[in-house]
Symmetry: C2
Subunit: 354 residues, 2 copies
DNA sequence: GCTTGGCACTCATGCCAGGAGAGTGCTAAA
DNA sequence: TTTAGCACTCTCCTGGCATGAGTGCCAAGC
């Protein structure tokens, strides 16, 4: 579908205007707002064409026009001029990221920053550690009879812990021995490789293996498996969405907020868009989820050492200032990538000194 | 203020009725509902008295009456028959708590359970570790140049971690040595005692102390201090509040939700009510916080080994079924206490074997 | 053939009046 | 002290009406 230049300009200004104040746009304001010198009547003719094409619609006969999903889609695809972010803004963001070092904090901070700047809801999916993360250290600590606390530290400094049940009581010395075995054998390996290796060990082990090793393998296995099911989506600024009158209906809000706490659908959506690099935009029903049917989602992947490991983005009504939001999401993804990678890179240097 | 028996019965049924369906109650329904055989006209006289006393009010002349805060207060103080929870319900709750072992999970589970059963918002304040918790183990791990990951494990199995900046690079051996020093010196001590001891060590140390000890003390100090500022309130089921028409106004909701994310006011409120044992109820403005002005909060303390370490509760509109909610909050507090203590008790047994 | 002014038409919105319904307060009688 | 009765008040709903915004269409103009 291609529009002539005039229709395009009109659609563009209509959408910009509608994004700005959320009211249907009539032919008169459009005639004044757009640069072209045309009478409202002419505009009306063009509007009729645009409506025919499914790019705009009117809520009722005597209201102005509002963009349809298709209209927004064409807008973002063909006529959007992404506004680069102010350098001073970028520096402010950089500062924000510099003040945290722990990956978990960085992720929460990214989500918070997104929601604050865009005045929308920020979402950040935690890195897919399983694939990327490498094993650094494991600790086993006796909590009480047969209950052992396993602490797993990955190369990037993330700490995961879990209490597991043991088949019998173990002395502290045994646990230390087990941990040492692990730390000596697997440090630096990918978690996924460690997992596979563990599976093999369990099969081969049988009786000729020291019982303590058996325990260690079993415990680590349990701990690793637990890691997969962690709930790994950070949502913030939910209440920002309450400021949009088009979402003012409590029922709609409820659906949205439930989606935020369930997280499942959001994770699927982010997952789906993970393969493609760069900023991706879902407008209204494009996401395929009922709760998001009146929302747009802008996402971007972030990376660690050149590998995409997670997604972040914002959620708002379909009427969001895409021009700015896109570059904010983009920059935030880059900054988060940088912050996460820099916490990795020095380690590489260090380990090369060994 | 004391009421005659008839007025009391009427106030009670009025409140129960209003809690049930949220509509102002008129003299006719009240005449039918209450056991006493009285005409609506008589009821009206009594209502006028109750209004004089500030126990009920009417939204407008031709609406029925609704309870005031004072009315609710008298209701819960003098005429509430707390409904004990069904034993089968209690067992279901117990199962829920048994399926988690990690303290953090227990706390999240408690919050979730509260919100699910009451269909309100559940809040659980994390245990005040500082006072109660005892030190078990510390680990220092090199992340990258001058960045050290500190992992602090308390006796109850909680794991806290933090990245700190060091004044120079340290070898892994040095870090292990530092950790050993700590673990040998302080295991089993109260965190607060350890903190004080650390302060002293820093002062005395000066130059004659090994630099590595100095580092260890400094790092631990940093890690311990960080622990104090952790955000320690788990909120769940926020969106349940959207189902109450009296909170249906988006502006009110926004205030509430902002309070949930800020958490500060809620923590203060819980803190204030911590000293008193047992269930405590704040009705409407009694809490003293604007965002909660149309809400009631029901709280109860939970304990570990007989010591109150935290608070939990629910938040809803003033019109909540107190009879049931009170016992649910009470039971949940007891169950959480039990679950947290049992994860502690075996340890005590074990350590007495030493 | 595109553009435009004019005009009839539609629809949301706000306002006012009127009727129904719910519930009250007051008074006088039981 | 209780109750029946009655006037009164207030909300809510409805219909009517004017207003204003904006459209669609047509015929004239460039």
């Amino acid at each position: 579908m291609s529009l002539n230049a005039r229709a395009e300009v009109l659609l563009k200004t209509l959408i910009e205007r509608y994004i700005a104040d959320g009211q249907p746009v009539g032919s008169r304001v459009l005639a004044r707002q757009t640069g072209i010198d045309l009478s409202p009547a002419t505009i009306r003719n063009v509007m009729a064409d645009l409506e025919e094409l499914g790019l705009v619609s009117s809520p009722h006969t005597s209201a102005g026009r509002i963009p349809t999903e298709l209209g927004y889609r064409m807008f973002v695809d063909t006529m959007l001029r992404v506004k680069p972010l102010d350098m001073s803004e970028v520096h402010k963001l950089e500062q924000e990221f510099l003040s945290h070092q722990n990956p978990q904090q960085l992720i929460e901070s990214a989500s918070h920053v997104l929601s604050e700047i865009c005045k929308l809801t920020g979402i950040v999916m935690a890195p897919r550690r399983e694939e990327q993360a490498t094993f650094r250290q494991i600790d086993f600590i006796n909590l009480s009879s047969r209950r052992i606390l396993v602490i797993l530290v990955t190369q990037d400094g993330q700490v995961h812990n879990r209490v597991i049940a043991a088949d019998r009581d173990y002395s502290s010395a045994e646990l230390v021995q087990a941990a040492n075995y692990f730390n000596e054998t697997y440090t630096g390996d990918y978690l996924s490789d460690v997992k596979h290796a563990l599976l093999k060990e369990i099969q081969q082990a049988s009786d000729d293996m020291q019982r303590i090793m058996n325990l260690a393998v079993n415990m680590a296995q349990q701990a690793f498996n637990a890691e997969e099911e962690t709930d790994d989506l950070v949502v913030s600024g939910e209440s920002n969405l309450m400021d949009f009158p088009e979402l003012g209906d409590v029922r709609k809000l409820r659906k949205l907020f439930d989606a935020f706490t369930t997280k499942r659908d959001l994770l699927h959506l982010l997952d789906r868009s993970m393969r493609a690099g760069g900023v991706k935009i879902f407008i209204g029903s494009e996401s395929g989820y009922d709760a998001l049917s009146e929302c747009s989602v802008v996402t971007a992947p972030y990376q660690v050492d050149g590998q995409i490991v997670g997604m972040l983005g914002v959620i708002g009504p379909t009427r969001i200032p895409y021009e700015q939001v896109i570059s904010i999401v983009d920059i935030t993804a880059r900054l988060l990538s940088g912050a996460l990678s820099s916490s990795e890179r020095p380690h590489r240097l260090e380990s090369s000194e060994h």
